[in-house]
Amino acid sequence: MNNLKLKDYLLLTNDENKELIKLRNSDEIRQVSLTQNIITLDEHLLWLNKLKNDKTKQYFAVIYNDNVLGGVNVFDIDLQVKWGVFFSNKTPLMIKSIIPICFMDYIFNTLRCEKLYAEIKKLNINAISYNKNLGFEVVQDKNIVTMELNKSRYLKAKDGMILKRIVRKMSLYNLKMEIANEK
């Protein structure tokens, strides 16, 4: 069964936290992350404690058939809302494609965000292209590229040639979102 879920970091089990940190500290993820330091499990758990009371950030692990494959997050919810995503290289491409659509729907429909931003290393061409396919546009082109997306542009992209086909495949997955109680 294709069980796919976005599970709030605040609900992760100890084993899931360990898996997540191992993945976050792997070279493949740190190479493309804006912050590249190694995070220990203790540091991660301390940070989770702070996250409990922080209404401006939400972090979710991507879990497919009980394996942690990556994460998505939305932060600065009170300011210029930004999103981030990372996946293990082993992640099936279909999952890399379905998750951002599910998460954009959550950001624009549930969180009622008006505008969303992404900050990506200029060298990470694939991620820039990935965000463009979600409807993002480059608004600042420096070493860190800033991209912007509003709801109408997202809906247009979702109805476009590329995302429409992926949306059709979403029904093949048993997709769930587990969100911690309201902060």
Binding site: S97, A127, I166
Partner: protein
């Protein structure tokens, strides 16, 4: 059969490029790199392209094929490296 498969791939890539607007896809050839190092498609575009390709191939050859299976998508020698490797992979699936 190989030429027909290649033509289908190239036609779909051209159609896709109306949305992608990627210069590297203006005139795709068998050597055009699709996914991976220096590939022109990111994961979203690749999955969408493959989904379309599966449908067209199934219609044209009257045979259902699955390109987007996890084995192919995570293979070290990925069939999605370039147009040529994808053509060969589809031919292999149709010959089975």
């Amino acid at each position: 059969m190989k030429n027909k498969i290649e033509k289908i791939i190239i036609d779909i890539l051209k159609e896709f490029n109306e949305e992608l607007e990627n210069d590297a896809l203006n005139n795709p050839t068998p050597k055009t790199k699709l996914y991976g190092t220096n590939g022109v498609l990111d994961s979203l575009a690749l999955v969408s392209f493959i989904t379309d390709l599966e449908e067209v191939i199934s219609e044209e050859f009257d045979e259902e094929i699955v390109l987007a299976d996890e084995k192919a998508m995570s293979a070290t020698a990925s069939p999605f490296r370039n147009v040529e490797s994808l053509t060969n992979y589809i031919q292999l699936l149709l010959d089975k």
